[in-house]
């Protein structure tokens, strides 16, 4: 089997990095940024508008308003009836939806390329001119409360995640859930929605991304016609959110719920994100997450805890590299039958220490870099994912240049960079360790 691996190894390095020559960017006079991603194989487009506004931009006490507003943008405008946008999209054979995160809110339609003009007409209309009724607020608020029920209240892992995040961020608004705290969601009002809307929904706070069977020239003409005429928000606030104070003590959470079937341990560390012009450390953290806890059969944690010992049935390391402010690096272990959470956590700690001591497996790093180069080929088959990559990056403090430089920065990461990143990030005093458990009484009954 060694021989087989070596033979495969020979061909790895031949793959050239593909230039991102299918991506074009420009800006409109009113400050709206535009990204065009070309794929002419099928006569379809994805049309997206991203706003640099998300849950972490919400005023205190109105958690969930960014997401609530996202729902309300499907209601009436001065030119459209409530629901008309989705109706017109469907009548033209398209699909549409939207999503909200801490750093962005985005709206998109997938549709035949020759309907792009119509999509822009409607998307530009709702950027400045929604017209809500009190009835919209009340009915749609019930919908988001049911959405919270479905995602969070009915799901102990969801509730556990909220607790851990709130413990991670003492001061930064990343501490709130995107969907909102339930007691605040119940009070969200028309004024909350319109204040957020008037401030953030403006061309100088938005990014247009069109991916598919279009040319940059076509997009420019249409974008100037529909979005170029919109008034920018002149007093757009700077996105300077309250930052975290130094963490001086480890934080630990035990979350018990009778609906927990499989207990596990998750630990997250506060970690730097990709910064414009300085993405090297984040690149090392991306590599660290993959090598340490990517897929079980190839990662270091998998080898130590799932293969060499049967401590765990699942292990993972994860890192959210795209974020406006400080992000997190995480470790997770799901213990095997008969292994306690304490034993699992101790084994996880030992494995992480071993990783730093033993150093990076050169072959594993080469394989990872090969996969990342190949991803540049595979992703041409799915321009929608390229569009999302640009949208998330551009709303999280990165520039087009940063996004295009990223693949080369990943390739340049060295073994030493990865170990240095590990030593930097695995600091107990930046950690929140969570145990998800059955109630103790239940556990005893089961034994």
């Amino acid at each position: 089997m060694r021989r087989l691996l070596a033979v495969f190894g020979l061909t790895l390095m031949a793959l050239p990095a593909w230039a991102q020559d299918f991506v074009s960017t420009f800006s409109l006079d009113n400050g709206m940024d535009v990204v065009v991603i070309e794929d002419h194989r099928a006569p379809a487009v994805v049309h997206m508008v991203w706003y640099r506004a998300g849950a972490a931009d919400e005023p205190p006490g109105a958690s969930g308003i960014a997401h609530f507003l996202e729902h309300l943008l499907f209601k009436a405008t001065d030119d459209m009836e409530s629901g008309q946008l989705s109706k017109v999209v469907a009548e033209n054979g398209g699909t549409d939806n939207a999503f909200t995160s801490w750093d962005y809110t985005a709206y998109f339609q997938r549709i035949a390329a020759d309907r792009l003009d119509l999509m822009m007409t409607m998307e530009a209309d709702r950027m400045r001119d929604i017209q809500l009724t009190e009835s919209d607020i009340l009915t749609e608020r019930d919908v988001i409360l049911e959405e919270r029920n479905q995602r969070t209240e009915n799901n102990p892992a969801g509730l556990f995640g909220e607790e851990r995040r709130a413990a991670q961020y003492l001061n930064h608004p990343y501490s709130i859930p995107i969907i909102g705290w339930k007691h605040e969601m119940q009070q969200l009002s028309m004024d909350d929605a319109m204040d957020f809307y008037r401030t953030y929904y403006a061309p100088n706070n938005a990014i247009l991304i069109v991916a598919g069977d279009v040319t940059p020239e076509e997009v420019r003409v249409l974008a100037e016609k529909h979005y170029g005429v919109l008034e920018p928000t002149v007093d757009l606030p700077e996105r300077a959110r309250p930052q975290e104070p130094p963490q001086r003590a480890e934080r630990r959470i035990k979350f018990e719920d009778p609906r927990v079937a499989q207990p596990y341990v998750i630990r997250t560390y506060l970690a730097p994100e990709r910064d414009s012009g300085a993405q090297e450390q984040a690149a090392a953290l991306v590599m660290l997450a993959e090598l340490l806890g990517g897929e079980g059969a190839t990662s270091f944690l998998g080898r130590k805890l799932q293969f060499e010992s049967q401590t765990a049935i699942y292990t993972a390391a994860f890192y959210s590299d795209v974020s406006l402010d400080d992000t997190t690096f995480g470790l997770a272990i799901v213990p095997n039958e008969g292994i306690s959470l304490q034993e699992a956590e101790d084994a996880l700690d030992q494995a992480v220490a071993d990783f730093i001591t033993e150093g990076v497996d050169t072959e594993a790093l080469n394989r990872l870099k090969m996969q990342m180069r190949a991803e540049q080929i595979y992703e041409r088959d799915n321009v929608g994912s390229v569009a999302r990559r640009y949208g998330a990056g551009l709303t999280s403090g990165l520039t087009v240049e940063d996004i295009q430089a990223w693949p080369d920065i990943l390739q340049a990461v060295t073994e030493e960079d990865i170990i240095a990143a590990a030593e930097m990030v695995f600091d107990e005093d930046k950690a929140v360790t969570g145990w998800l458990m059955k109630p103790q009484q239940d556990a005893e009954v089961l034994q």
Binding site: F8, P43, K87, A90, G93, D142, E153, M370
Partner: protein, 437 residues
């Protein structure tokens, strides 16, 4: 390779609403394995989709979960490689292999680069032909599956799916989860894995779709290398599944704030002359869009849920119309009332011409958009073959949608929708709902 052995019929076709052209070639390998190919050379990789009809429903008696476990074990060691060596070889080639199984089919989905295609196929071949099913791998993956089964026992959505299936189909494989039970999975052995593989992965139930940077001739060679050593025949298909439910409500008590309800009754076969009319009718009743009746009435007008939908489920051995909704415990009864009322309304009154026109423009416009990448197109082609649809189906499909009349929808709604037989299984602490009968 001798060119004359290929029977490659290239049929050019254009979809109706948009200009999408999918040129499908029917390829037969020198060894007699058939595949549908779309040659697409612009990106140097290929997507390959393989299906074995039968899937988890071919589990032997008392071995529920064997096919699922076997499928998960294919990448856990093959040929002279253990699980980790196999994964390292795969990553070194930047190939990806997915193995999955459902009630009616087991699937293999692969993507590989042109520059190392032969090696990627050789590696995949070892997984499909020479999986090791080592005891250590068996133990490890068994533990993972047991953990999933335990988690499903506490997950309202899994509970409601399993409960509806059990009530609807009893002892038929459709009546239980493909994961198996804690008892059956714990008892599975290496011999059971070999047996399950031989039951499921055979040439007499094989379907292949390929899209990407590969010619018909190259594909012929590839098919024989990859699949030529599979057994000729596998297990007999399971019998038809008798449907056991009648109308009513079954409450499965579970302490959680939001009730989840699954509902349905018997449906219509894929080859029924009325299938297209039924399909269009369901889009109007409960398709996923905000325009559907259920979404409009339950969510948009009343805010009772985040999502509600219905769908036709024409499986190989039974046909259902199914739907799902989730609402807070004190609101689920109202949501169910609204769904029942809409079901009755469409069954007795049909739909409006405006609704029908909008559904048609949506369906015909959306169809070409499905062909949006090598993997999705390979998937569509395999699905067409399994449903015994001709190559020219893509060109005629929208015309079939267009041909559905208001009268057709009314007739098929009256025939297919059975408000009196609609059964709701509700998991939660629903206020004002009790199990009927």
């Amino acid at each position: 390779m001798i060119r004359a052995l290929f029977m490659a019929a290239a049929l050019a076709m254009a979809t109706v609403a948009a200009k999408a052209e999918v040129e499908i070639q029917e390829v037969t390998s020198p060894g007699g394995i058939k595949a549908w190919l779309v040659q697409e050379n612009s990106i140097p990789f290929t997507a390959l989709e393989i299906r074995f009809k039968g899937g988890a429903s071919l589990d032997a008696d008392g071995k529920r979960g064997a096919t699922n476990l076997m499928t998960a074990l294919l990448e856990e060691g093959a040929g002279d490689m253990d699980a980790r060596q196999f994964a390292a070889a795969r990553d070194g080639l930047a190939a990806s292999y997915g193995f999955d199984v459902s009630d009616d089919a087991m699937s293999v989905s692969a993507q590989f680069l042109t520059e190392n295609r032969d090696q990627a196929i050789e590696l995949l071949r070892t997984a499909l032909i020479e999986p090791r099913f080592d005891d250590s791998a068996l133990d490890r993956v068994q533990s993972q599956v047991l953990s999933i089964i335990q988690s499903d026992e506490k997950d309202p959505e899994a509970i409601v799916g399993d409960a509806f299936a059990r009530l609807a189909f009893g002892d038929h494989p459709y009546g239980s989860s493909i994961n198996g039970t804690l008892a059956t999975v714990a008892s599975l052995t290496r011999d059971d894995m070999i047996e399950a593989k031989n039951r499921v992965m055979a040439k007499d139930r094989l379907y292949v779709g390929v899209v990407g940077d590969i010619s018909a001739e190259e594909l012929g060679t590839l098919l024989d290398t990859l699949l030529g050593d599979l057994p000729e025949t596998g297990a007999n298909m399971p019998p038809r599944a008798d449907y056991l439910l009648t109308g009513g409500v079954t409450v499965v008590p579970f302490d959680t704030p939001q009730s989840v309800a699954r509902f349905g009754h018997q449906g219509i076969t894929r080859d029924d002359d009325d299938f297209f009319a039924a399909f269009v009718m369901n889009v109007i009743l409960g398709g996923g869009g905000f325009e559907a009746r259920l979404m409009t009435e339950v969510r948009e007008k009343r805010g009772l849920t985040y999502g509600v939908y219905s769908y036709l489920a024409p499986r190989d051995h039974a046909e259902l119309v199914l739907g799902q909704v989730a609402s807070a415990n004190d609101r689920i009864a109202e949501a169910i009332e609204v769904i029942q009322a809409e079901w009755f309304k469409v069954a007795t009154e049909g739909v409006t011409q405006d609704e029908l026109d909008r559904a048609k423009t949506y369906l015909t416009g959306a169809y070409p958009l499905r062909f949006d990448g090598n993997g999705p197109i390979a998937n569509i082609m395999v699905g067409m073959q399994m449903q015994d649809l001709p190559v020219d189906y893509i060109a005629t499909r929208n015309a079939k949608v267009e041909a559905v009349t208001l009268e057709d929808v009314k007739r098929v709604a009256a025939r297919v929708l059975q408000p009196e037989n609609l059964h709701f299984v509700v998991v939660g602490q629903p206020a004002g709902l009790e199990t009927t009968n």
